[in-house]
């Protein structure tokens, strides 16, 4: 009884603000409803879904999103783990170092996006200015297909490497020291110790961190909105950004809802598969 009283307010809020909207979106996804045009919603069956799944435009955004997610998450995992490893080997100033490295993660994506846009400006940006002083040419960071996507990945990596670092550091410092002692008696090589002791113990934590980052990266919107606006052309439009355009440029609410439902499905299915894989890993 007490449990119900304590839990239900929170659950009710979630039902009203998360589940109900989602169900509503699910209903709209089978219609051609438009939020501005008004008029009754016509039922179109799976029309929206088939249109989305067969659209070349959507495929292109999916590919862009995939490259972005894989690129960004891989880069920040390697970097984050590397930094954590280097910090864990220091005896002095670790607290200060960790704190400093964490700053980017705390900033609002708006601030991060605006500021990197300023720094990456081809003409007046500080990055090209420094490249120039080094005798290297100007790079068009935000206006070439390849570099624009790379810039997105770099900025996301800058902001979220600390996240991976933080979690990896927790794992690294929790490795029981007796394991290392035993290994050093065996005169095992550094690489061998790393591979057989450190990595297996940090790995599960790292995998969870990767999952969190991948989910976040998959739904990336604000950074694109501010940094490239999807350009040049549509080459940095992610799925989230495309949903936004469908929803707010043409106000095709029905299509946008179907698009959104599909994105949520992808997240849930992939997360479930991943978690199952993680559990198997734990058992094995």
């Amino acid at each position: 009884m007490l449990a119900t009283v304590f839990i239900s307010p929170a659950l009710l809020l979630l039902l009203a603000m998360s589940v109900f909207p989602l169900l509503w979106a699910l209903y709209l996804s089978f219609t051609d409803y438009s939020a501005t045009r008004g008029g009754p919603a016509r039922f179109v069956g799976f029309g929206n879904y088939t249109a989305i799944l067969t659209s070349a435009q959507v495929h292109q955004r999916a590919l862009t999103t995939l490259i972005y997610v894989v690129g960004a998450v891989a880069l920040q995992t390697v970097l984050g783990f590397g930094i954590a490893y280097l910090i864990s080997r220091r005896t002095h100033g670790r607290g200060l170092l960790t704190t400093l490295f964490l700053v980017p993660m705390m900033l609002s994506p708006v601030v991060v996006g605006l500021f990197w846009r300023f720094m990456l400006d081809a003409q007046f940006g500080v990055i090209n200015s420094m490249l120039g002083s080094l005798g290297l040419g100007q790079v068009e960071w935000l206006t070439r297909q390849r570099t624009a996507l790379i810039s997105l990945i770099v900025v996301d990596t800058w902001q979220w490497t600390p996240f991976i670092m933080l979690i990896a550091l927790a794992g690294l410092t929790a490795v029981p020291k007796y394991l290392y002692e035993a290994a050093s008696i065996d005169r095992a090589s550094e690489w061998f110790r790393f591979r057989t002791i450190t990595l297996p113990l940090v790995w599960p934590l790292l995998l969870i961190a990767v999952m969190f980052r991948a989910i976040e990266a998959f739904r990336l919107f604000d950074l694109v909105y501010i940094l490239t606006n999807g350009g040049p052309g549509v080459s940095t439009e992610t799925l989230s950004f495309h949903v936004y355009k469908v929803a707010f440029l043409g106000f095709n609410t029905g299509t946008a809802s179907a698009y959104g439902i599909l994105m949520v499905l992808v997240v849930i299915v992939l997360t479930q598969l991943y978690l199952r894989y993680l559990n198997k890993l734990k058992e094995g």
Binding site: F6, L97, L100, F101, M105, L107, F115, V243, T271
Partner: protein, 303 residues
């Protein structure tokens, strides 16, 4: 046990590891590692430093090519502009900061008030399908905001919550509640249930036992959780830009984004506004540094 940064960075295990200096070339390697760390730290912090530097530069120097790192004339005008409108009086930005404080503050309090009792109940009682309920709660956090904003918008327009602080507060509360429940459940789990049992033997009701014995022990955890909820609401952009439009409701992130795209971009002002906007978050993050890991993973990683 939650792993705190302080523990994570404690010098315990490493000190007793094989001293690297004993190996051939150990010192060289150590120097290399320090150099590498320094380079990485500089790279990671440079944008922040550049932001601070830009905020105290005069606009003429902001665009200077090659970039001026030193020797520019310092001004605090941009910081003044953040708070004071050109004609005197409060600037739109300062109003936005105030709105952010109200929205973030109230939604955090609400999420805490709703989430903490729920977390306690999930921790203490045998709830039907507890695991499923908890996963469901967590999964509401995984939805892309751009997707959620569409039905929320339709819903809000029916109940008249568009372009209102209350609307933002409700959606932020809904986004923060799952986080609060998950993170607080961890903290409650750490408090032995025996305390409450003992209190109940003394004649207290379960509720009184929770209130008198468990809750005081949870205060640090609640504080940490609330700070993370606060940071989320403070930084949030997507809901803010699509659900609000008037100056009197708009929070700081869309207001700062609005500084570009006029006829001239005052990058000094953008930088100053960003610095002012980031400061509270950095202070708060410092205050909860012990719980950072749990905080950024919705409590999923604590150990």
């Amino acid at each position: 046990m939650a792993v705190s940064v302080d523990e994570a960075v404690s010098t315990g295990p490493t000190r007793e590891r094989t001293p690297p200096t004993r190996r051939l070339g150990g010192r060289g390697r150590s120097v290399l590692e320090i150099a590498l760390l320094t380079v990485l730290a500089v790279v990671m912090l440079f944008p922040v430093l550049w932001m601070i530097e830009t905020s105290i530069k005069e606009n003429r120097d902001v665009y200077a090519v090659p970039a001026q790192f030193f020797g520019f004339s310092v001004t605090i005008d941009h910081f003044k502009d953040v708070f004071v409108a050109p004609g005197g009086g409060r600037s739109d930005l300062s109003v936005a900061f105030l709105n952010s404080a109200v929205v973030a503050g109230v939604s955090t309090v609400l999420a805490t008030v709703l989430g903490v009792p729920a977390a306690w109940a999930y921790s203490r009682f045998a709830v039907k399908a507890k695991k499923d309920q908890l996963f469901f709660i967590l999964s509401t956090r995984f939805m892309p905001p751009v997707v959620v904003v569409i039905p929320i918008f339709l819903m809000y327009r029916q109940v008249g919550l568009i372009d209102s602080k209350l609307g933002l507060i409700l959606i932020y509360t809904a986004f923060n509640a799952p986080f609060t429940i998950w993170m607080m459940k961890g903290f409650v789990d750490e408090v032995p249930a025996e305390y409450e049992d003992a209190a109940m033997l003394d004649g207290y009701t379960r509720l009184q036992a929770f209130w008198r014995h468990t809750l005081p022990l949870l205060v640090p955890g609640i504080a940490a959780t609330a700070v993370f909820a606060l940071i989320f609401s403070w930084n949030e952009f997507v809901f803010a830009i699509f659900l609000t439009s008037s100056d009197s409701v708009r929070t700081a992130p869309p207001a700062i984004a609005g500084l570009i795209g006029g006829t001239t971009t005052d990058w000094g002002l953008v930088a100053a506004a960003s610095v002012v906007f980031a400061l509270p978050v950095l202070v708060f993050a410092y205050l909860v540094r012990k719980h950072l890991i749990a905080g950024v993973t919705l409590g999923a990683v604590r150990r």
